[in-house]
Assembly symmetry: D2
């Protein structure tokens, strides 16, 4: 299992459960979203207040479901940055039972650096690259190509 | 402000915020629902697993919004039982800033005792009346009339 | 049953259903919210685009649940304006089975006229009073007191 | 663009919009879920009532976001079955502006045949294979390997 330097705890809500009695698949993405926001705040990349300053927009998102999540199950989401591109970067998630560490789902998102006021994608800011690479112990070698 | 013997902390999620930048009004009811479920579990009235055994169905729900709730605001929901009827009871909620204690919203729900398997309302079980009255320090005098 | 001059159809989503197999109570308020937005658009009071120009903020909301709503049930929400105050107005909702007309829930909201840019409540604009009163056939007599 | 024999219209709800003023990324998965349920009903594979008889569980889900979706935008979701495996099958989605046909997002889900009462995965029923293959004009050749 991938190692994570950041975890965010999640309380499964009664309203997260669907007609089959488990957490609805869609809500896994809400859990990843919440952990992603907290990760950015933890690294000082977002202040948690100005939504137009969040600096990224999702280009792609995926989740692989391993075990059902139940109401009341103690949950934590591991988040780490994967590949750093010129205009985008990858984040990787692990939804785990907080007691056992058992992995319940894994996810990936691709974020593109984005200026919400200009409504345009931008190059990934050097400051972001530095903070993400430093926190994760990644080599911040400028990629030759790709987004 | 009403006194509460039970509080449940809530983490405001990024996804709880709407286009105006504050927690969506609808989500206040999700917060109350979550606190209600935890209150029932705390009192041993629901095991947190069997959804058809939750024993109550909502007849009425209301919320008065006092101040906007922001992403990241530390939140707690006070819950207490109000009036105990023959077939129903009232619950009262206070959404508060967990740091300042400032009241952000107040709510009320009316629950009717309900058998989900039989799909029928039932009298409020003596065991429930006893537990609720005891926890809240209410007089469990059998009401003369009303639901 | 109250008469309505405006109805908005709602498609119950699979994800609206909760662990008891019926539409979650919280989602009723989403249905009312959606019908309210469409009502304002229908009357030309909101353009459906600029969220900071929606001009109202909720002060209070309530719902009385009559019958469970099922996935796949054809639904419509009747909306009308009730009392027009100096700074606020009341809206009344009826959630109905669109085929049978059977009333499944009734709701009420109190809206306060609000300037989202100034973050302050304002008097209810004469233009709003006129449009609402005219559409509903209400007497637009300026109330003497109250919000 | 992939061709679709099934489309389901979606009404974007006011509550689907997030703090950036566009439909929240998570809600795209709700739209796909709703279209998937309707597709199964359209093909007679689910009756729309018995949630434990829906016969599939999600193993994987992904979405690629192309353009932001706005409140009020007319939306339709194209759904088709891709690869049919022995125990699972793939579904492909296209979220489109219903007026222009412009593709706003594409998605994929992998479903595993599942018995919710036994809480166990099962082989994909021949009846399902036949219906899916027939509707989509796929060759229903039994796959040699893989899930």
């Amino acid at each position: 299992m991938t190692e994570f330097r950041f975890f965010h705890p999640i309380e499964v809500r009664y309203g997260d459960v669907d007609a089959q009695g488990h957490v609805n698949n869609v809500v896994y993405f809400t859990y990843m979203e919440q952990a992603r926001a907290k990760y950015l705040q933890h690294l000082g990349l977002w202040n948690g207040r100005d939504f137009l300053d969040i600096g990224i927009i999702l280009a792609e998102e995926r989740c692989r479901f391993i075990s059902a999540i139940r109401y009341g199950q103690p949950l934590r989401v591991g988040v780490r940055t994967g590949r750093l591109g010129k205009k985008s970067f990858e984040m990787i998630y692990s939804l785990q039972d907080a007691d056992s560490g058992l992995e319940l789902a894994v996810g990936t998102t691709i974020q593109v650096a984005y200026d919400y006021r200009a409504e345009a994608s931008i190059p990934l800011l050097p400051a972001w690259r530095k903070v993400l690479a430093s926190f994760e112990g990644l080599e911040d070698s400028a990629p030759v190509s790709g987004v």
